[in-house]
């Protein structure tokens, strides 16, 4: 159970406070309700590029990192297709420095040409390092546009192509900030060795003078229902043939989300899972195989991917996956097997609550999904999943007509 208090400033900024006196640290997590899904199709990768620019100096403070490091703090940020999230931790007596820094970059950035020019290059190097210069690095650049026709999940957070990043202009940057970065689009969580009253005082002092702004209305095109199998085959300079099968699944807030998540656990969580035992150990068709949900906020993807043992034919490998899927759909899952996956989930959630920063980030995400208290209902939501629910969702989800398949083959 994570206890917290929640209030709103006059400018609409949501503030959540979680006191945890067992740590000498305090952290601020600020989530902005903007991700790659909010980008223009011709200017992709922008939410993430913008995350980099948030470290290029703000209107009154030329450098974000230096003053934070001076007080013993550390920070980072991440961007997904759904959100952009910034966090920092400091020794708790220096919490005001974090308020000062975070509020100034919510107020406005320095917008220097130098920062834009350099961060464009840095992000292009990131693109190369993670997506181009790695074996299988371009998988998601291929899978997303295969699985999605209209929803902006069809491009990756890093962007569709390097040219989109190269072409980003200062006008684009300023417009993006104006639209997406203001108190109305943000959720702030302050956690750790802090006091509610002091956090209120500091939030009012540093954040309340910022103009509320307007939360832009999100109106994303809905992905039409897939009605037939999609396939793509590519050859690359890799040593091992690999298969990816992705299925459209429900959104994060859907009542069936936890059921679908547990289906992926039954299939592949841990060495006692079905796919590992049947396909890696018994039949020895795969050297590794996994199933997982992407965790997207909108209707997202359920993924099965596996690397084939040398010499195994792709059709045999795929057939073996389909056989396991057929079992999920036709044979009710054993109560004990389901309970095993629930227990594992319960203990993962409990372990994740040992870290104050992790708690802060999860509170912010839960609040954005509708209510910070969702974080305290997760275990119960998983416990409520039923045998018949699993079977029904498996039938709905795991169909070839709902599936995009990628054969990623080694060059002959």
């Amino acid at each position: 159970m994570i206890h917290f208090e929640k209030f709103k400033l006059k400018n609409n900024l949501t503030v959540i406070v979680h006191e945890d006196k067992s740590t000498p640290l305090a952290c601020i997590n600020i989530l902005y309700d903007v991700g790659a899904r909010d980008e223009d199709e011709n200017k992709t990768g922008f939410a993430h590029l913008f995350e980099h620019l948030m470290f290029g100096g703000s209107v009154n403070i030329p450098n974000y990192d230096e003053p934070l490091q001076m007080v013993g703090g550390e920070n980072n940020a991440f961007t997904t297709n759904d959100i952009t999230n910034y966090y920092c931790t400091v020794p708790s007596e220096n919490i005001e420095t974090a308020f000062w820094l975070e509020s100034d970059r919510m107020l406005s950035l320095a917008f220097t040409e130098k920062s834009l020019e350099v961060q464009r290059s840095v992000v292009i190097e990131e693109f190369k390092q993670r997506y181009l210069n790695q074996p299988y690095g371009d998988v998601w650049l291929l899978l997303r546009p295969l699985a999605y026709n209209t929803h902006p999940y069809k491009w990756a957070t890093i962007g569709k192509e390097i040219s989109h990043i190269e072409n980003a202009t200062m006008d684009d940057v300023k417009a993006f900030f104006k639209l997406h970065y203001n108190p109305s689009t943000a959720i702030m969580v302050v956690a750790g060795d802090v006091d509610l009253e002091n956090v209120k005082r500091l939030a009012e002092k540093w954040f309340e003078p910022i103009d509320a702004g307007i939360k832009p209305k999100r109106n994303l095109p809905k992905e039409p229902k897939q009605t037939e199998p999609r396939k793509l085959t590519v050859e690359r300079d890799v040593p091992v043939d690999t298969i990816y099968k992705v299925y459209h699944m429900c959104s994060r807030n859907d009542k069936n989300y936890h059921t679908v998540d547990l289906i992926s656990d039954i299939l592949s969580r841990g060495n006692s899972s079905r796919l590992y035992n049947a396909l890696v150990k018994d039949k020895q068709l795969f050297s590794e195989i996994s199933a997982y949900v992407m965790g997207d906020f909108d209707e997202g993807l359920f993924v099965i991917s596996g690397k084939l043992v040398d010499g195994v034919k792709m059709e045999d490998a795929e057939k073996s996956i389909l056989e396991e899927i057929e079992k999920m759909k036709t044979i009710p899952v054993d109560e004990r097997e389901l309970q095993k996956c629930k227990n594992k989930t319960e203990s993962s959630i409990t372990f994740s609550e040992t870290d104050v920063l992790n708690k802060a980030t999860n509170l912010a995400i839960s609040e954005l999904l509708g209510d910070a208290d969702l974080i305290n209902k997760e275990i119960e939501n998983y416990q409520n999943v039923t045998v018949s629910g699993i079977q029904q969702q498996a039938k709905e989800l795991l169909n070839e007509n709902n599936c995009s398949t990628l054969y990623y083959l080694k060059k002959k």
Binding site: M70, P239, S347
Partner: protein
């Protein structure tokens, strides 16, 4: 009116309280170090053996033995072991480093006893079935082949070999054929020699239940287990490469991986603390000189860093990055320029203060929570050091001067002493 240009007042960290591990012994003499902290009803139990790469006489032996501990025992097959550990919601984590091998269990307190039963089995009665070994090695080989396509892997592997020499277990560069030659007999011998009650200690951390010691004793403490001989200390000579520059070409690479460094010392050396400050200034944090120049000014890379790796029998210093293939030479020039600057120009007072405060902040972060406290304990225990090590660390960092920084840079970072390895395209 709020003044946003002036930084708020702040405090420097003057003292850090570390919750110390307390020592007891099981009936058979296995030392148990416990850290009782945290609010969740969880426990991590870690068994640490002198069974790292240093002790292997064949490549891959230490890691393969460790990984296959869950491949079956006299009583349970691999599936039964994982099935039961998973059912209790517990996590088994196996790991091998240069010096130590470890077996960790993470469990909810309510299922600790049941879960430990399976750990007891695999520590005392593993049988390493032939088929499990074959499947594991074949799959590992495939992973090795995939990793061998990454410039970062190519540079890292070669760099270790250049530091320590191809014969040294810290430096060995695994080859494809190594996966074909390891035998069941090798593995069983290694298990018998190194996984036993005389060659082991236990660290237990979490919100510990009252009976945790009794539970541990019932599973692991009643009598000696395994062949019960402590591992012999051995000395292996380090032979660094006499050639300074090395290049592994990868024609289609869009980035090059760079490693530059030298054999130095481990954390027991008197200069270790203050050299950590030198390292942090150069490449040990986001605001470091290498990051400021090569990423934040030139945009050549997504990231660059430096560090000190400390093992029981040696240590080394390294700089590591991946840069655009077209700017490889320019990036190398800038790296050497930054090292030279450390030798020739005194570090500014502001920068030194920032680095000191940052290091102390990191230190504070690293003693927060039961599991990080356990890591902090192991980090001294593995080197036969006491908690006063951290007091000295704290004081040395606070006291280091501009002159000392320059002296250390001159003593340890001469360009002629640095070995360079690039994988990619130049």
């Amino acid at each position: 009116m709020l003044n946003r240009t002036a930084a708020p007042e702040f405090k420097t960290i003057d003292k850090i309280d570390i919750l110390k591990a307390s020592e007891t012994k099981l009936d058979n003499g296995i030392p148990v170090y416990s850290i009782n902290a945290g609010s969740q009803e969880l426990t991590k139990v870690e068994f640490i053996f002198n069974a790292g790469m240093y002790y292997q006489n064949r490549t891959l032996l230490a890691s393969t033995t460790n990984t296959l501990l869950e491949a079956g025992t006299a009583k349970y097959n691999a599936h039964q072991i994982s099935e039961n550990i998973d059912f209790y919601g517990s996590f088994l984590e196996l790991g091998v480093g240069q010096d130590y091998a470890s077996v960790s269990l993470y469990a909810l307190n309510k299922y600790l006893n049941e879960s430990l039963h399976y750990i007891e089995e695999l520590l005392k009665n593993s049988i390493f079935p032939k088929q499990e070994i074959e499947i594991h090695l074949a799959n590992k080989k495939q992973k090795h082949q995939i990793n061998s396509q990454k410039v970062s892997t190519l540079a890292r592997r070669r760099f270790s070999e250049l530091m320590f020499g191809p014969q040294h277990p810290y430096g060995v560069d695994v080859q494809d054929h190594d996966f074909d030659t390891l035998t069941q007999k090798d593995i069983i011998n290694f298990y018998n020699n190194f996984y036993n009650s005389k060659n082991c200690y236990i660290v237990v951390a979490g919100n510990l239940s009252k009976d945790v010691f009794t539970v541990l004793n019932s599973h692991f403490g009643k009598s000696d287990w395994g062949h019960a001989t402590p591992a012999a200390k051995k000395q292996i000579v380090i032979v660094s490469s006499s050639q300074q520059k090395h290049f592994i070409e990868k024609k289609d690479a869009v980035q090059s991986a760079i490693r530059i460094g030298r054999i130095l010392f481990n954390k027991t050396h008197p200069d270790y603390f203050k050299f950590q400050v030198v390292n942090t200034i150069l490449g040990g944090y986001f605001g470091s000189r290498l990051m400021a120049n090569i990423r934040e000014d030139k945009g050549y890379t997504y990231g660059i860093g430096s560090g000190l790796s400390s093992f029981v029998n040696a240590g080394y210093f390294y700089i590591s990055t991946e840069v655009g293939a077209d700017v490889t030479t320019k990036a190398l020039d800038e790296i050497y320029k930054e090292v030279k600057k450390l030798r020739e120009e005194p570090v500014g007072a502001d920068e030194l203060e920032t680095v000191k405060n940052y290091i102390l902040g990191q230190f504070l972060r690293s003693v927060d929570g039961p599991f990080t406290l356990a890591e902090k304990f192991k980090a001294i225990k593995d080197f036969d050091l006491g908690y006063d090590y951290y007091e000295k660390y704290f004081k040395s960092v606070k006291a280091v001067t501009t002159n000392e920084i320059m002296e250390l840079a001159n003593k340890y970072l001469q360009e002629k002493d640095l070995i360079e390895c690039v994988a990619g395209k130049m």
